[in-house]
């Protein structure tokens, strides 16, 4: 999937999403929560980019910001060639059909008073001039596509199980033939045996309609399954982006390593001795530490990490990471190391 010929469908550059904190009697602005703090990545047409991280790292905010569900603090987001970071809402509305979202909680994201046909058909009411019959035909088509029986079109969301509700949410997202779908933890609320069903459905739909996904999840094993490339977020920043196999077999960033080693293996013979256990908790995004964001928990921390923020650099083609110790902690040849240094110098010059 990862080849340079592929077209960039989504380009995110230096995206910042800060939420103000107001306090005191006068509700003065006393600070800000830096939920997303300078994130850059691209998503190629037809691929799935997995976005992983712990709760509170800003991955959901990032997903929502890319679709302009918030007003961005800073940065640029290009979807299908169109810059949407500062576009006004009325214009943005016209562009909505290309970008859709599947939400985490299928219970909360479906209106309990609307029938399935109305929920799935609502985007059609909003963005097309279809007749009633055409709409119903399209709704039926969508229900077939996500594996729901057409007989259910007149039912209400509460009559469905969690997995079926998520299928309704997916059908709604598909209604306008989008190119890009942000899936925000679409399987987190589902049972293990149902998760696999929904993930397989998403994969089938991707093949069939040529969709591009941003798959946000905290479930590293599921992301390994569905994603072509993976971005790891920590405290509002992307610390590593790499093709899936490279990330899982040879992660560069110490946080990625710790995150992967913390995932319990369903095998009683699996040895946990080499496991990296991180100490402490994630710092507050309203007051991130000086230097590298990960310096308070990093096992390889040095003085430099507490002083300066590491550059986000390309360690290998297509493999980016932000850490001062990339060379010390990895088994690279001297040539590669030199190349990396050169690259980081070049990047420094650009800035």
């Amino acid at each position: 999937m990862f080849d340079s010929a592929a077209r960039k469908l989504v380009e995110v550059k230096n995206l910042k999403m800060h939420f103000p904190i107001f306090a005191g009697v006068l509700r003065r602005r006393v600070g800000e929560v830096k939920a997303v703090d300078g994130v850059s990545f691209d998503i190629f047409e037809g691929e799935t980019l997995g976005l992983v991280g712990e709760s509170g790292c800003g991955k959901s905010t990032c997903g929502r910001a890319i679709l302009r569900l918030y007003d961005l603090t800073e940065g640029s987001v290009k979807i299908d060639g169109a810059e949407i970071a500062q576009t006004e809402q009325a214009k943005l509305r016209k562009m909505r059909p290309t970008m859709q979202m599947v939400f985490q909680d299928p219970q909360a994201s479906l209106n309990p008073r609307m029938r399935v046909s109305a929920i799935v058909g609502e985007p059609l009411d909003e963005h097309t001039n279809m007749t009633k019959a055409e709409k119903l035909a399209r709704v039926h088509e969508l229900m077939d596509a996500v594996g729901l029986s057409r007989d259910f079109a007149n039912r209400f969301p509460h009559e469905f199980s969690g997995g079926q509700r998520q299928r309704i949410g997916i059908a709604r997202a598909l209604a306008l033939n989008p190119k890009f779908i942000v899936c925000d933890e679409p399987i987190a609320a589902l049972d293990v045996s149902i998760q696999a069903q929904v993930v397989n459905l998403l994969e089938d739909l991707q093949k069939k309609f040529g969709l591009t996904y941003l798959f946000i999840s905290h479930d590293l094993s599921m992301v390994r399954h569905i994603a072509d490339r993976v971005a790891v977020m920590y405290l509002g920043k992307v610390v590593e982006v790499a093709p899936r196999d490279a990330l899982y077999s040879a992660p560069y960033h110490p946080y990625t390593k710790a995150l992967l080693s913390a995932v319990p293996e369903p095998d009683p013979d699996f040895s946990t001795e080499s496991r990296v256990i991180l100490q402490g908790d994630v710092p507050s995004p309203s007051n991130p530490p000086k230097g590298c964001n990960f310096c308070t928990r990093c096992p390889d921390v040095s003085d430099r990490c507490r002083q300066t923020e590491p550059e986000y650099q390309e360690v290998r083609p297509g493999h980016f990471a932000a850490c001062h110790h990339l060379n010390a902690t990895n088994y690279e040849t001297a040539a590669q190391t030199a190349a990396n240094e050169e690259q980081s110098v070049q990047q420094g010059e650009k800035k």
């Binding site: 712990e54 079926q164 256990i277």
Partner: protein
């Protein structure tokens, strides 16, 4: 873990029924198990499989009505917990059987300090005075790895992070040195790195304190790492029980084996396509007269819709409730 030791907790044929307007819901059917000293029993199942209700029924934590615990015995310390009076049960609960709930956000009282909530069981069950209780509470917080423990006793739950709150919950459950600890999805609400910390902590505490633990979860990865024995529940009943290695290497119930195949892995081979268990989990209702898994089972045959299989011993400490013998690929002779 010690084999052949006297079980500290022996549950026989436990049945819990909820009475609703649309009829009775049999949430727990014929659940039997025992727990030996120092052992960690994993209890695996999907939501609605009855795992939490079964455990809460043991110690009288299901609201009655609508729930009613029918038949069954829960033998603990020579007594049947289902027959003792509420006062005695209160003395046992918290003191000799500790409980850690799933959600650390909602199971701590937001208007009391953590110190107060930690001292409560100490004063109630151990008869300690305030001063002693405070000292012990600080020790407990230290035990579960909260830095600056004595200071933090004065803090309220909202001043703690999720992982820290779960540690507080564990500290409260451990306050009176219980013989049995029931942990209901204690790490589900936590991030993986924090979960890893809590799992290490539990392993360590188990060695130090030697209590028996029932660990309820739906995460097979967690179970593989910490359990000695595993019990799998589906549709309100136990479908398989086995020592942890047996269960993962040689699952005998179609549900267990399908479940193991559906989960993707972070390490090793990556499957191109995920295996699925088709269909939906059963909706609990009247007492099942057939195997609850039959609609989703690849091996189901006629008998499965006519009879509900009972648990049959098929190996050392390994039993399974299924009419089909997966190893021999033939119907079981039971």
């Amino acid at each position: 873990m010690p084999d052949g030791a006297q079980p500290v907790l022996d549950v026989r044929d436990l049945n819990t029924v909820f009475k609703t307007r649309s009829g009775e819901v049999h949430a727990v059917n014929h659940v039997s198990f025992n727990l030996k000293k120092g052992e960690l029993l994993g209890l695996v199942g999907e939501s609605g499989s009855g795992k939490s209700v079964a455990m809460m029924s043991l110690i009288g934590l299901v609201p009655s009505p609508p729930a009613e615990v029918r038949h069954g015995e829960v033998l603990f310390g020579g007594r049947d917990l289902l027959k003792v009076d509420p006062g005695t049960l209160r003395d046992i609960r918290g003191a000799r059987i500790g409980f850690v709930f799933q959600d650390p956000m909602t199971s701590l009282n937001p208007v009391f300090t953590v110190g107060f909530q930690l001292m409560e069981p100490l004063r109630r069950h151990m008869g300690m005075n305030k001063k002693d209780a405070r000292v012990r509470a600080a020790e407990l917080l230290e035990l579960v790895g909260i830095p600056d423990a004595a200071q933090r006793l004065k803090d309220f739950p909202h001043q703690f992070s999720g992982g820290m709150r779960q540690r507080v919950m564990i500290a409260i459950a451990l306050a009176c040195d219980p013989e049995v600890l029931i942990a209901d999805e204690p790490t589900t609400a936590l991030d993986v790195t924090i979960q890893a910390q809590i799992l290490e902590l539990v392993k360590e505490l188990r060695q130090k304190l030697g209590m028996a633990i029932v660990w309820i979860t739906h995460d097979l990865g967690v179970i593989a790492g910490i359990a000695d024995r595993v019990m799998v529940m589906y549709g309100g009943q136990v479908v398989e029980e086995a020592p942890v290695r047996d269960l993962f290497k040689n699952p005998q119930h179609p549900y267990t084996s399908a479940l193991l195949e559906t989960i993707p892995h972070v390490r090793g081979e990556r499957a191109e396509r995920l295996q699925v268990i088709e269909g939906q989990p059963p909706i609990l209702g009247a007492k099942p007269t057939a195997c609850p898994f039959r609609h989703r089972c690849g091996y189901a045959f006629e008998r499965c819709s006519n009879e509900n299989p009972t648990r049959q011993v098929i190996g050392e400490g390994h039993d399974v409730a299924c009419f089909w013998d997966m190893a021999k690929a033939e119907a079981r002779n039971v």
